[in-house]
Symmetry: D2
Subunit: 436 residues, 4 copies
Amino acid sequence: MGHHAERVTERTNRAVKGTTPASLAEFLRVRAATEALAAPLSAEDQTLQAAPECSPTKWHRAHTTWFFETFLLAPRGIAPLHPEWATLFNSYYVAVGPRGARTKRGMLSRPSSAEIGEYRRAVDGRVVRLLESAGDDELSEIEGVIALGLAHEEQHQELLLTDIRWALHDNPLLPAYRQLGAPPHDARASKLSFQMLEGGLREIGLSEGTEFRFDNEEPRHSVFVEPFALGRRLVTVGEWKAFADAGGYDDALLWLSDGFDWARANDVHAPMYATRDGGALVSFGLGGARELHDDEPLANVSFYEADAIARFMDARLPTEAEWEVAALTTNADPRAGNFVGDDLLSPRSAGGEGVTQLYGDAWEWTSSAYAPYPGFRTRAGAVGEYNGKFMVNQLVLRGGSCLTPRGHVRASYRNFWHPHTRFQTTGVRLARAGDR
Amino acid sequence: MGHHAERVTERTNRAVKGTTPASLAEFLRVRAATEALAAPLSAEDQTLQAAPECSPTKWHRAHTTWFFETFLLAPRGIAPLHPEWATLFNSYYVAVGPRGARTKRGMLSRPSSAEIGEYRRAVDGRVVRLLESAGDDELSEIEGVIALGLAHEEQHQELLLTDIRWALHDNPLLPAYRQLGAPPHDARASKLSFQMLEGGLREIGLSEGTEFRFDNEEPRHSVFVEPFALGRRLVTVGEWKAFADAGGYDDALLWLSDGFDWARANDVHAPMYATRDGGALVSFGLGGARELHDDEPLANVSFYEADAIARFMDARLPTEAEWEVAALTTNADPRAGNFVGDDLLSPRSAGGEGVTQLYGDAWEWTSSAYAPYPGFRTRAGAVGEYNGKFMVNQLVLRGGSCLTPRGHVRASYRNFWHPHTRFQTTGVRLARAGDR
Amino acid sequence: MGHHAERVTERTNRAVKGTTPASLAEFLRVRAATEALAAPLSAEDQTLQAAPECSPTKWHRAHTTWFFETFLLAPRGIAPLHPEWATLFNSYYVAVGPRGARTKRGMLSRPSSAEIGEYRRAVDGRVVRLLESAGDDELSEIEGVIALGLAHEEQHQELLLTDIRWALHDNPLLPAYRQLGAPPHDARASKLSFQMLEGGLREIGLSEGTEFRFDNEEPRHSVFVEPFALGRRLVTVGEWKAFADAGGYDDALLWLSDGFDWARANDVHAPMYATRDGGALVSFGLGGARELHDDEPLANVSFYEADAIARFMDARLPTEAEWEVAALTTNADPRAGNFVGDDLLSPRSAGGEGVTQLYGDAWEWTSSAYAPYPGFRTRAGAVGEYNGKFMVNQLVLRGGSCLTPRGHVRASYRNFWHPHTRFQTTGVRLARAGDR
Amino acid sequence: MGHHAERVTERTNRAVKGTTPASLAEFLRVRAATEALAAPLSAEDQTLQAAPECSPTKWHRAHTTWFFETFLLAPRGIAPLHPEWATLFNSYYVAVGPRGARTKRGMLSRPSSAEIGEYRRAVDGRVVRLLESAGDDELSEIEGVIALGLAHEEQHQELLLTDIRWALHDNPLLPAYRQLGAPPHDARASKLSFQMLEGGLREIGLSEGTEFRFDNEEPRHSVFVEPFALGRRLVTVGEWKAFADAGGYDDALLWLSDGFDWARANDVHAPMYATRDGGALVSFGLGGARELHDDEPLANVSFYEADAIARFMDARLPTEAEWEVAALTTNADPRAGNFVGDDLLSPRSAGGEGVTQLYGDAWEWTSSAYAPYPGFRTRAGAVGEYNGKFMVNQLVLRGGSCLTPRGHVRASYRNFWHPHTRFQTTGVRLARAGDR
């Protein structure tokens, strides 16, 4: 996921010297949320790294802290507390063999989780003091960096959960992150229908403004969209069963060529973490293993599976422009949805009217390759250094998931992963041509 | 490359029963061209496969023949000459482990090159007889399949040359395909400049029509393009030297992340087939090894290198829409350019006015992921079966190369390869925002 | 290393019901030694697994305990405390994909180190009660299993140290296991000389008897040995420097073919954990990084390196028969030597007369492939099930190391590892033909 | 296989200047035999390389010729005909990345098979002229080199056949090397029984002498052998079926640990080239595919399979000392047996009395690791340079096969391959302790 931003949030009343800026409360809230997510995990749990694309819990806790030290405190003359930790917790360092280091994050028994907790508290104190003592002329820039640091930390909050899920799944005892029930089932979950949406010359992305956004959301620009129809809810577990039972995983005609090769090479016949048990689909989640309900949204599928399922259902995936146009047209509320704060930590069945589940529940694969918007520019400085460097070989996902912090996503928000990725909470939204 | 099409070419005077249709001459011309390209190669040469993505010369000769047997003759009741060869020369067969078969094409000592020559002549005779005896009502459909088969064969003509180049390069003696000189140098090759092009709502792709096209060129559709500037010629070897000498291959800031990893993992510091020798860049081509001229277009670079070189030159790669808009706007002639018929088998320096080298010389990497056009539909029948299955993880290239048959490409023609591909004759065209 | 044995130690005075058997004290001593070795390590440290051939500290602690539960308690009707842990800590379980499980031992955050400590104490209590309540008729068999379990646990004590060394080395901070100085240097360390030993028909291995031995040491059998000369001490770091400085790592004539390929493929130019820094050789050990003294025995080299160094020094490695004949002929004391109890945790320079360092310091690679002795028989029962299954592709090592518990090795003791292994404390003893 | 030797054959009457030495006839006979084996293969066939451990037919033809140029002609001032071919056909050249070159032998379309034929004839002429013009003082040394070159060439004759078998098997059409019937079945093929052999201090290997031998057969030395029993014939296909039908491939208790892992990783459930078809075992051989007879000797099994089958049959493999003692004791004739000259090119069922099939039919895996004999010395000069470099990780095989030239093997002859090797004609001879 992209990592850099400038957030300037709800700061209208804060600037009088001596009063507490609203950004201070926001800072403390987000920082505490990370620790709350880590709290159910032992020091040993927090050391685990299941795969090169994951990081240990305590690494997430330290890296997000290193971010504030490096991009907020250091430029203002405040030296790092543990300079020797820089190589451990810096994800930006590129050199010969960087993957080597990345794959060894699970070997960091030291510093301990306890030391990292102390590190977080010490840096928090320094940030608070900086904020409290900042002059009016500095405050805006400081708050900009803090906003970016918090958006970055919220991304890592989601990763913390997806990564520990994988790690616990590697233990034959299948221990739970913590006690969780099945998400409540909404009786209104219904047969899939499609909503018609108008095409034409539309605008997506964000123009310059004061609300926080990542650079990949800029600039606002025109796209021509044909009329299209969008599935009113996410594809469900029951619909996946129909695909699987019809031999979908073995029918080359349903798949992209690279996808079929990938499925063969990895013997893929179910979503990640899930196993078929007769008619049931049993999945390991943060609450342990449980049978999924047929009306639950499907999750933990790759782009390849999403694309094949869509073809099986006589549909296709939406483009990211279509998704954003739909979100803007339907005026969906980005804060309404099943987010991490709802504490289900699992997608739940759809129950609303109109186009539902656009936000929360599961990230929605689009058919759009992740690419720079026309006129995209890299921002100045170290933070902006690598902004566009992931813009190849990945697909855009939209809308957030049940593990995303509420308020983190918006209509223009672009997530992105390689097409084989399955350890994120990734689901399927269907689209069709508008004239059908 | 895409493989399926319906070509109906220059057939205005052909339909009177008893006269020879123009398509017959075209059929014989293209079929003979394949044999002419294979002629300098011994039976042993024709058996070589350098890599899984390559095929032996004689496989190309047999596969393109199998295509006519399978899609033209068999549906009309003419049984295949060697039914047992079907598994050898069928590239469409998908099953568990298809790559296994693909990687073993170099083990096909039998049938011999001579037997494949006989096979070609026998199938040619059958096609000729079919054409000559066809009723008026059948002719149009037959000629459609033939047009597709010939377009397909022309694609394999280019592959035949790129594949044997790799194979001969694997021999420490570096034998030449045949005697070739350096391409003549055009004294007018000049400093790189950019041509401004207007943006707006434009149309690209092809609507239904009678001229041959592959399905991925359809349908014609609207795109919104910002004003842009396009490099008037391809990037040269001299410009590549500037990039390399400035440490471009080792400067992570110039690269996409996946690209930098790829370059590290494969120790890439020069184009494929090329080695730096002091100030010189020596490359192995179809005529053997020779030093490249600084004004020659750069070729055999990956998308990753093309993208990094563009960034180094304070530019970017064009989108495929921009490329097609430029080709249409400048009204460039798709038959004018350095094609295989010119027998240089190497890109040559640019000498014209305006935007040059759009066609021929080297395929031009675009920044556009290969994806279906809005409204793309798979064609009916076995030929159309897999039309869209390559539409992920690949980038579009435009314009043809010095190894492409003249007349094969057009403004709407879409080639596509994975971003690390270097064994094709792939070069770099620069673009910039229009307001700079 | 082999894992199974029947030890019947020093039990002459113990059998009177109600008195404490000597085996009880031995049991408690060895079990406590494991915990003492683990004590400097945090729960996080104890979870680390650096490579598939290593195991986490807490896994060693649990596996050795599982051994007593499975082979001592369960057959006597005492059910396991945590039946669900069996798959976690059973190294004997063979099934499709066993390596998968083996490579995931580092993912076992649960059970925690603390729970494993409780597990050990609970099992210890059960074993003590079993011993105390055993009838005279049962005691001998029980003590046999205990002796085997303790020999097995001592092997894991050494592995615990070699494995945590690798794990800590993977941390860029290079943390020490605990504070350790350099081993004291013995001023008598001298120029290498050779001791002549007589050949003839000799006997090696052990006949049936009451002292504990692993099955691979049986039976005693005749071998014909030519007269030979044995190096009086281990090859030193200084002698390794002469080899390296003469280009030994790049001189194919000094190497076995497989070894040279291995060194090339892994870019081997120094012992594991060591880097050349000008004239110095700096190595990371359990006490952290330090410069090695030229008179210290070389360690952490593969069989391939050992063999090449021997050839460079105009010598060869001894066979295991030669080594055992020398040990028996010189009557060396297997308890005298630098063992783990000496707390150097590093080989030290040789200072004695005659053939020195036969026991302790570093395991000595022999040129003998690990194979069954003539008449070797697999023992009955689950413990003996796999006794000979490692007898291919490995080389025998003799004599123990500075990380081996004192009393664990003897003249007939056979250790074995694949020839590329370097994470054990493996060194070089030279031999030559006797008539030189 | 070892490659170097000094052969001094049947030269009692040859030395009179002007008469033709017997070695000349032998030279021409062996050289012609190579060409006869290659004759059924087209130029395309001769270019194929199925795996890195194989070489193309024409490479064998050229390499054996290069050997005479390099070790016989060049030292006598006769410059090579094609100096630029040295890197192509020199198997002795070791450098960084030698495997790269080795894996690319199948890319040598040039020089052509025809050119290699001319090369052979030209070198033959030079050797003949050298022999005819040699003075008495030179002849002995020249004939020594020739004897070595011919023994080397005979090894490559066998490899030529095993390598083309693999190559043709990679073609889905399964073409035959040439027309061959099933070997005749000997009605006397009988139930397996064992012959008792005495133990004691015995001598194996060769002392210095005038008959040709490879260096690894020297020196003659004493070994102590326990009494043992040897299977009177090779293990048969029928006995393999009993092993397979009892689930032998999936029973870990029967296997060495490395072997079981190898069988799992490679999904091994039948000998190489063979597939089970109901009760039948169908194998692809040089004559194409055919069903094997239950009494035929099993072939194309790895050491791992041989070892597991022996354990299943309540036996073990012999050591190489036991094999040689048996061969000497029974006084078997090394020229009597099923060799390549018998033109079956397949093992045949045993029909004799006593210990049969010691020579020919199939190479017999021993349990002995390939190691230098006590007192082994590398010979001087370039030829002897690498004599011992293969003496690790390989197992000794004895006795020759149906693809070995008659007269090539003897009681002391040592072949060797890695334990997973299956493309050689490798079978199973059983042994047991003598006191059973």
